[in-house]
Subunit: 186 residues, 2 copies
Amino acid sequence: MSFKTPVHFGPFEVTDQVFYKTQLVYALVNIKPVLPGHVLVIPFRKAQRLTDLSQDEVSDLFSTVQKVQKMLAKDYFGTKDAIGKIEDGSFNITIQDGKWAGQTVAHVHCHIIPRTKGSDEGDGIYDRLESEEGNVGGGLWDQSRPTQHGKFPRIEDADRKPRSAEVMNEEAARFKDQMARLESEQ
Amino acid sequence: MSFKTPVHFGPFEVTDQVFYKTQLVYALVNIKPVLPGHVLVIPFRKAQRLTDLSQDEVSDLFSTVQKVQKMLAKDYFGTKDAIGKIEDGSFNITIQDGKWAGQTVAHVHCHIIPRTKGSDEGDGIYDRLESEEGNVGGGLWDQSRPTQHGKFPRIEDADRKPRSAEVMNEEAARFKDQMARLESEQ
């Protein structure tokens, strides 16, 4: 499947954020990562709930999560030569399955959040995931939102701004290369 | 596989807490649930990291998560007659993969936490999961810890006490029955 085929996450087109595809699922960089390397794995089919997925989709979703973890381990925890030094870091793997669990896009998505020593204390990772900062749907929505000009910028708004397309594209390209290298070396 | 075969979660024997088994994974009630219905799904093989699991184990782990969600949906969200009214409730599905992500037992375990309307605000679910309250390993460890007698009870300690074997066994028996009913009706 070409990386140029339009990919949708809920109502949003996210083609340029995608860095990995299988037959049934894809992985993309996040518009509002709560920590560096926070990415999502998503089935192409727009199902809302984990229980809506077929056996094949579930199997592909989580084996892709494993592959992406190995890539991120190389990018964030390991040296540039070593692959999959998983033991050097940790990950929060989490699905907000339904709106009372904090799901903001009605399309199953599994969060992968790299954690390192020091990131395990006081970073409020889960609070941030469930706050506006982790509002994936809101962030994507904001991209199309009309911008009001002429006001003084407010630092707190600037801090929470979704990442630019350029920043995300660069990261997606880097992860795409690393996934290809990882697969060719295994 | 008989429910009498001893089952281990990390260094802990949890046989009586188990309410469901497949060839590769099992589900058990939690000693310190952060919300009612908080259960764990675990591979029999004692692997520490999600990336250590085989394709078959990953596939079985998450299709079991789906089955347990349907059972819990019946128990917590649905009527006693209807099966799998998933849409009435939500779930947090989460793996603390490695110690920097809050893993307290070095044996892969997937948390399933039912969420309902109202449980999505201010319950600090993830804080609790990463605090002493969600310390699954600590709770199991405490079961074997010598008890000191003769002191005045402290409410805060009493509140955080792991659940009794009786309470867990009753819940495990109820969930075991419901899993069997769910499978026979499908």
